[in-house]
Amino acid sequence: MKTTRWLTAGVLCAALGLTACGGSDNGGGGDAVAVEQIGAGGAAKNCTGKPVTGGTLVYSRGSETQSLDPITLRNGNGDIFATELVYQGLVRSDPTGKTQDLVGGVAEKLDVSDDGKTYTFTLRDGIKFGNGDPVTAEDVKFTLDRFGDPKINQVMSVVAGGYGSSKVVDDKTVEVKLKEPVASFLYNISIFPAFIVPKKAVEADEKAFFKKPYGTGPYMVDEFVRGSHVTFVRNPHYWEDGKPYLDKIRFNFASDSNSRMLAVKNGQAQIADGVPFSQINALNGDQKLSLQKAEVPLFVGMWMNHQRKELADKNVRQAMQHALNREQINQGIFRGVGTIPNSILPALKYDAPADQVPPYAYDVNKAKELMAKSGFPDGFSTTLQYPAGYDYYKQLGLLIQQQFGAIGIKVKLVEQESAEVTDRFNKSDYDLTFPYAQFTSDVVVPDEYATFVANSPDIDNFFTHWDSGEIGDMVAKFTTTPDEAERAKLWPEIQKAMLDESPVINVMNVPYVNVHGKDVCGTSINALGADHLEDSWMASQTAAKP
């Protein structure tokens, strides 16, 4: 048995001694520092001292929290970011966001068997839930069994694939058996559906517990008013010394982006998420505010239906890639904060940088040559569906219509309500589509998306009907290879092959853009975009305290 061990908050990969895991070693394009202050304001200048305790932070959030039960996700990031404050998994995504690696969470030691099918977790010494009860192996087994049950874990049952069973070895040790090796298993259990919940309280009255839940995270829910706000108070039993700093956090739900920006300008809120790209320049000029951009696996994915003979033609798809003027799209729509992708998927761990896997260059002549070589030298007509009522899809559709038009592809734009776009996508009733208004990966490793697109016959390779051939086999090998170093070698080959085939098109990698007052310090965001407010503090509290 291969024994691996790590200490409090130590980086898992470093402790594992895996060279391919660290920041520079894998050379991953997406592995750079995830959070960057942009704009004239820059980083808050008051934040140079040591963190101080106290204060209330009001966060104006575009996505409402609808469920505080991490396994019954109901509203994407609205739920995820709230549960990230309250609970933790056995392992966690690096909370600083500086790497895409995993660090210890509820567990502080891990053994993995050589066949990659048995994981033995040792719980952190003295770790407690918010109510003071110790976390036991029973709680972990209870949580993971919920995770593995598709009737309970309805929303994320895909990431629980391969889970077998859990066994309580002793009070602090749990042994997890997988049905087959799942290389991304630790990443899969680092996210919300596997967040550790207290067995006793959930079994006693599940509905009541999840109205005002607590876990091992830095905060506990104090009040949850649907459609309005959720407030959190400090977890007095939190295990990281001195954290969290803030006494109280309040998420105000504000679906309207103008209302959110007004709330921050007015001082009614100290942070707001989802800054509309169209307002970046205006907010940049405000000296009282800081804009913050976080690279996350969010992308503008344009899906193609290979049942249409034109789109099944590789020359046509490559021509489309070359016909896209991404620089113009980035400047015109995303105000320059987007990143030109060198993958058909969002930026993920193990991605090779652009000098190894170059992105498609904007080259109309090359695109025309490819069209001439294709089965459709005279061009063709097609449709592009996109969701109505979102920031940028309409403008983007118009630019794409114009850019594809230049190589003889006539695009008819079809604007629909987002539920209908998704519905038609699920029924393969589309030519080109932007199927989801927010298209993100749930995990930082490519296993989820690569499997969806290249190795999922039951959903027709994510409704593309793409004949993935050899690439499907490469993905299958990648997702079942437990060795990190080996995976880091396998992925760039897949990334390159997929980009060459271009079964779908990644138009742009897009960051999350937040805005916060100069008083707010330590706004870390992990590689998945979740705020780690246990690190946040208010500079104004320094003055308030001697």
Binding site: E64, Q66, S67, D69, T72, R74, N75, P150, K151, N153, Q154, V155, M156, S157, V158, V159, G161, V225, R226, G227, S228, N252, F253, A254, S255, D256, N258, S259, L262, A263, K265, N266, Q268, E417, S418, A419, E420, T422, D423, R424, N426, Y436, D442, E448, F452, D458, F462
Partner: protein
């Protein structure tokens, strides 16, 4: 009078049943699967099948409608998949902010609309009358979301008299957080009030009994308030009750701009997510409110004016 009341009540039941059928059919016929919407792309077919079974979505449309109606009659509005909570609980929490907002907006529309109408009717086709008509045309044409944002910019961000968004309970909290939204919402209706009342006032002021009152030497103010207004306000009351539906519709936008956790924002979200149960419940509540108010208006008129209840 009793016969009239029974007749109107029977009609109200038919209207509400029709509304329930229409809402049910529209929600079920538009494309978009509720389970797919809620569970998303990371759910396995097994999970989706289980959720569909839980919700009874595999039953026939008729069976689903029957289940909805028979439960609704007993007060059971069902369980919301998208919010993972009983519909009655979710909807119940959202009634108060919406009802207060709409009540406050009605008040604003009356307080703004009636004086404008009186001033305009004082000298029909005078300069003031034209100015008011121009103003109300502008006010009516301005979209509510824009008016709301402008009010938030000026009175929230600029003057800091009110918060830019949010909702607080209690009298003070309500005045702080609902004033700007109520003005936004009430402004549209006040233009309707002003214009309806103006034309009926002008009509009434021309009638013989007003002439008689004036020739008896009553002051113009007394003629207007005591004599003309009483008769002229009737059509305005009808217009107000008819436009309650309009107000409910606009409240969806206003609630979104000011982040008020009311029924409007819940309705919008539930339509987008295809939450059949919640949409049906809100449609029923809003429909009942409109029917009840128009019934009450009719009854008030019938008790005052015999022509109404005798159907002449």
């Amino acid at each position: 009078m009793l016969g009239y009341l029974l007749h109107r009540l029977a009609l109200a039941v038919v209207v509400l049943f029709g509304l329930a059928v229409a809402t049910f059919l529209i929600m079920h016929l538009v494309p978009g699967d509720p389970v797919q919407q809620t569970l998303g792309s990371r759910a396995t077919p097994e999970s989706i099948a289980f959720a569909r079974e839980q919700l009874g979505l595999d039953d026939s449309l008729l069976a689903q409608f029957w289940a909805f109606v028979s439960n609704a009659v007993t007060g059971d509005l069902g369980y919301s998949l998208t919010l993972n909570a009983p519909v009655a609980e979710v909807v119940g929490q959202r009634v108060e902010p919406s009802a207060l907002l709409i009540g406050y907006a009605l008040l604003v529309s009356v307080v703004v609309g009636i004086p404008l109408a009186v001033i305009a009717a004082w000298r029909p086709n005078g300069v003031v009358d034209h100015a008011i008509r121009l103003l109300t045309t502008f006010a009516f044409a301005m979209p509510a979301f824009w008016v709301g944002l402008m009010l938030a910019l000026v009175f929230g961000l600029g003057l800091k008299w009110f918060p830019v968004s949010g909702y607080e309970t209690g009298i003070g909290g309500m005045l702080r957080t609902l004033t700007l939204p109520a003005i936004t919402l009430g402004l549209t209706l006040s233009t309707i009030v002003a214009r309806t009342l103006r034309s009926s006032l002008i009509e009434v002021l021309k009638s013989e009994y007003v002439e008689a009152a004036t020739s008896r030497g009553l002051s113009p103010r007394r003629v207007m308030v005591k004599h003309a207004m009483r008769n002229a306000i009737m059509p305005t009351l009808t217009v107000l009750s008819v436009n309650l539906g309009l107000l409910i519709g606009y409240s969806i936008v206003v609630e979104a701009v000011f982040q008020i956790p009311g029924l409007g924002s819940l309705l919008l979200q539930s339509v987008q997510r295809r939450d059949y149960e919640i949409v049906q419940a809100i449609a029923l509540i809003a429909g009942t409110a409109v029917v009840a108010i128009s019934l009450a208006t009719d009854l008030v008129q019938a008790s005052i004016d015999p022509r109404v209840r005798l159907g002449r």
